[in-house]
């Protein structure tokens, strides 16, 4: 008997899980709410990926190809999950979209990913107020569209600032965790900006630089040594505007004392939050969330994809901020867990 598995979310994690489960021979239904696949990478058109500067579009093409050319994977875009009911050997799921339908899945993989923190929720950075204050995701979109320009007047920026930890590590906005990739993504972006703008002054305003593991020298050091980027230790308290330029107010905690520093372009390294889909689907499947609102990994020391309910698995940034490579790896980890789970079911 062939088991059917539903994978919810068509980002890197979900695509990988669907492809691998299809290769194992399961009947896989991949459900994606948007009309495109590829998750955040496709949404913001990441061109060059951290950490290895590989191509974003090529990654999406490969991942999407691996599910499209897979006879066992049925792809439903523009589709979301309606009601969910526990039935004999799995879950009966109502799918809402262009072709509403009902299916029974013996196992479920949640790969519903993250949302970017919306900096309008934190007024101090002037986002939405000053046109030259943009988010890291918007910078990615800018890279995709053409050369870097100041949104306010279309001019080439002479100075660029990155503000770290926007929407992360901050009790005032309610997110007390670190989003893990934004330090490294910002370093990558600074290196890209340097390639375009040999003369621009590029400054990073940080509390700690968390380019963990192998990214220390390949991204952090490289941005300093090869791209001449300066790191200033101090969290920005406020962005104002003077003479048409955003002005950063902070304390340089290494030489001590407050500063005011104008820039042509300011990039907010906005963090990651559990996506709306992650929130609603965890309710529908009655799985536990951890204290920050991501899906709780029930036994991370055993398998990263186990949730508080048997038969429901999680992969990618739905269970916490992480990089694409980890999201993809977890797609496979979840596939393995699903296979083990369904095998024991057959025996019993």
């Amino acid at each position: 008997m062939s088991h059917s598995v539903i994978v919810i979310g068509g980002g890197p994690a979900g695509l990988q899980a669907a492809a691998t489960l299809g290769n194992f021979g399961f009947d896989v239904t991949l459900v994606e709410q948007h009309d495109y696949l590829g998750g955040a990478v496709a949404k913001h058109q990441y061109q060059v990926l951290m950490p290895d500067f590989s191509s974003g579009p090529a990654l999406v093409e490969r991942l999407v190809g691996s599910v499209k050319n897979n006879a066992h994977v049925k792809i439903l875009t523009n589709t979301t999950v309606g009601t969910v009911e526990e039935v004999g050997d799995g879950y009966q799921v109502q799918l809402e979209g262009p072709k509403p339908q009902q299916m029974v899945a013996q196992a479920v993989v949640l790969a519903t990913g993250f949302d970017h923190f919306d900096p309008t929720r934190d007024g101090k950075y002037g986002y939405g107020l000053f046109p030259d204050v943009i988010t890291g995701a918007e910078l990615e979109e800018m890279f995709a569209k053409g050369p870097i320009r100041r949104p306010s007047n279309g001019e080439v920026p002479q100075s660029v600032a990155f503000i770290y930890c926007v929407g992360s590590r901050d009790r005032q906005v309610g997110n007390t965790y670190c989003s893990r990739v934004c330090c490294a993504v910002s370093a990558k972006q600074s290196i890209e900006i340097r390639e375009q703008l040999p003369k621009a002054r590029i400054s990073m305003f940080y509390m700690d630089v968390r380019t963990y593991g192998l990214w220390e020298d390949t991204l952090y050091w490289r941005s300093q040594e090869e791209s001449g980027v300066v790191y200033v230790k101090g969290r920005i308290a406020e962005v104002t505007q003077k003479n048409g330029q955003p002005v950063l107010k902070g304390e340089d905690t290494l030489v001590r004392g407050p500063f005011e520093w104008p820039f042509d372009l300011v990039v907010l390294a906005a963090g990651m939050e559990p996506s709306q889909g992650t929130r609603t689907l965890s309710q529908k499947f009655h799985i536990d969330l951890e204290p920050h609102g991501f899906v709780q990994q029930a036994e991370p020391m055993k398998n990263a994809s186990l949730t508080s309910r048997p038969g429901v698995f999680v992969a990618g940034s739905a269970s916490g901020p992480k990089a694409i490579e980890d999201a993809i790896a977890e797609g496979d980890v979840a596939s393995l867990a699903v296979m083990q789970y369904l095998k024991t079911k057959v025996v019993v």
């Binding site: 509390m207 920005i236 902070g250 304390e251 340089d252 905690t253 407050p258 500063f259």
Partner: protein, 231 residues
């Protein structure tokens, strides 16, 4: 030329760390002129962590352990813009690493906090920075009261005494105590205050103020102030 003016990041050094000699001969070699500036090394070897324990134990200082040293408090601080030595982040740091000598050196400015709470409102870690600074100031007052500007001290003591004794603040009484602590009683009868007193007598405020008395059961509840604020 100002002392040590050729030093990069001069602001990080204290005057007493810089040695400058007009004429300097070392080992028989005359090195007067551009080589005449030298720095005393400053190895910190005496940590005094009592301040940390006291601040953390006080009702207003307990959030000190939340601090992550991000600098947002100093960035927005009203006083730090004007007085470079006033740096709330750094006061917290000094307390936590036991740099009592630095705290004492800068004690005269810590009481300049104007209580605007901008720091507290900025802090991403929910440190009640304004009150932690007040708590550090309180501790320093016990250590080096002589460094406190006499007017600040008189003001502080008058507030405290008035509150503890009467359970309320009455402006005339406060003013009287404050001025007499400074030996400026005469000003109480100066033209300005006399005029104000006459006005207050006329519109009845003076009588009201004097008759209002203490809060109910003040003798029993005053410990709230004396114990918790001092703890």
């Amino acid at each position: 030329m100002a002392k040590g003016s050729g030093i990069i990041e001069r602001s990080l050094l204290e005057d007493d760390q810089i040695m400058e000699e007009e004429n300097l001969v070392m080992d028989g070699i005359d090195i007067s002129g551009r080589w005449n500036t030298m720095l005393k090394t400053r190895v910190h070897s005496q940590r005094d962590l009592d301040s940390w324990d006291e601040v953390r134990a006080s009702a207003i200082g307990e959030s000190i352990d939340n601090c992550i040293q991000c600098g947002m408090c100093t960035a927005g601080c009203t006083v730090a813009q004007e007085i470079p030595a006033f740096n709330p982040r750094q006061f917290i740091y000094w307390v936590r690493v036991g740099r009592k000598d630095d705290l004492i050196k800068n004690a005269d400015v810590i009481w300049r906090c104007v209580g605007c709470y901008i720091c507290t409102n900025h802090c991403p870690k929910e440190v009640n920075t304004a009150e932690v600074i007040e708590s550090i100031g309180q501790w320093l007052r016990t250590q080096v009261p002589e460094k406190m500007d006499p007017a600040y001290r008189a003001n502080h003591e008058a507030y405290r005494h008035q509150l503890e004794t009467y359970g309320r603040l009455s402006l005339p009484r406060l003013q009287a105590e404050f001025l007499s602590k400074l030996g400026r009683q005469k000003e109480l009868f100066g033209p300005d205050l006399r005029q104000a007193a006459v006005k207050m007598l006329k519109d009845g405020r003076a009588i009201k103020t004097l008759l209002i008395g203490r809060p109910r059961h003040w003798n029993r509840s005053r410990f709230v102030l004396t114990d918790s604020a001092r703890a």
